[in-house]
């Protein structure tokens, strides 16, 4: 159990997908203009990461691995299957949410399709493969990674809401400033690097 908590903490803070690896930057920059929408997208990312990570683990190990049901190394199909799983899961989640919770659907609605092309989702699955996690660790990594991404986008949205009223040079306004802020936040998060949660 402690091992899983370590992975959660590590993926949420020390190896934050958004601020240490800069994954999912397109939607991170596009949707962080207000806190409300940022929260919606952040929640959707947690949701989809937590669902796709275990499924992709099962596919990678039992379908594509050498000890899987086909008995041969099919890992060259990894990209196609992973992205297909992500795309269909997003579609499925969208339909289920629409049916059972229209209010959640209305708040998440437009963000769900965006998530398919969020690199944090595919990147998370690929990191999971390269780090050789087992099933429980993959679930924990998915939840932690999603939570870290959620924190990052809500934080930058809050800063961007405030900075709207500051005297920023016109050419730097908006996008340029968002980049500088993310860089500074990334530097702050670098301070956490090298911490080993297992040691505490």
């Amino acid at each position: 159990m402690g091992e899983l908590a370590n992975i959660f903490i590590k993926s949420a803070f020390i190896e934050n997908l958004a601020l240490s690896y800069f994954l999912g930057m397109c939607s991170y920059l596009a949707v962080s203009k207000t806190v409300k929408t940022a929260v919606g997208l952040g929640l959707a990312v947690i949701f989809v990461l937590a669902i796709t990570m275990p499924i992709n683990w099962v596919i990678n190990t039992w379908l594509l691995g050498e000890n899987g049901i086909f008995g041969t190394d099919l890992t060259f199909l990894r990209f196609i299957l992973f992205i297909a799983v992500i795309a269909s899961m997003v579609q499925l989640v969208e339909m289920v949410v629409e049916k059972y919770s229209p209010s959640l659907y209305n708040s998440l609605g437009i963000f769900l399709p965006l998530i398919t092309v969020n690199c944090a989702i595919l990147g998370g699955s690929l990191f999971m493969v390269s780090k050789e996690y087992n099933f429980a660790e993959a679930v924990s990594f998915g939840l932690g990674g999603g939570f870290g991404w959620f924190l990052a986008i809500v934080a930058i949205a809050a800063i961007r809401e405030k900075i709207k009223y500051s005297a920023v040079p016109p050419a730097l306004r908006g996008l340029g400033m968002a980049f500088l802020l993310t860089g500074l936040m990334g530097m702050a998060f670098m301070g956490l690097m090298g911490i080993d949660p297992a040691a505490y």
């Binding site: 690896y21 930057m25 990209f79 297909a84 092309v117 690199c119 595919l122 980049f179 860089g183």
Partner: protein, 231 residues
Amino acid sequence: MADTAVVEKNQGIQFGKKERKLLTDPLNDNNPITVQVLGICSALAVTTGMKNATVMAVAVVFVCLFANVITSALRKAIPKQVRMIVQLVIIATLVTVVELVLKAYAFESYKQLSVFIGLIITNCIVMGRLEAFAMANKPYESALDGLGNGIGYGIILLMVAAIREFFGKGEFYGYKIIGPSPEYAINTLESSLFGWYQGNNLMVLFPSAMFVIAVLIWAHRAWNPKLVDVS
């Protein structure tokens, strides 16, 4: 209108003003990174050195070009409801080709780029161009559009990589230019003129890519004021 259509049909493949605009627009007014803000993830992660950035830029140009052409050729056969999945499968197939080629012929780069090759799939430029352009235009124009966007992306990538590699490690494309040992062309230990020089380690780390791109955006918008964000 009808006349131009006939002319176009008779001449077949041509390269006029409209075609040139398709190719050059993404280099400046509609640059994928500094204006459309697409494909940032890989731009940040692979720009620590020129070598990786070149491999990445070539890979993206290839994927962007062929994904655009294939999608455009199939655009009438793709049902609207499942178009995202179809597009992603086309892109994923091309990226798999790139991955296998790199694995076979450039294993060093393959190891260093690791997951970021796979992330070309979710590189928003490719997907964005498919949605915005290839689904509505003929293969030839889509090819130009894909090529233009790929190159526009690659140029920024190489600029960021050149700045980061030089100031971070004192190297350019792996050639050692300035640094504190005899292997470098300018040896700062012996040279009295450049004795003050010290490589900036921050430039090798991730956040510096953010700063470099922010400064590039700033410079680009100052030079081309119509791009300034008014909101």
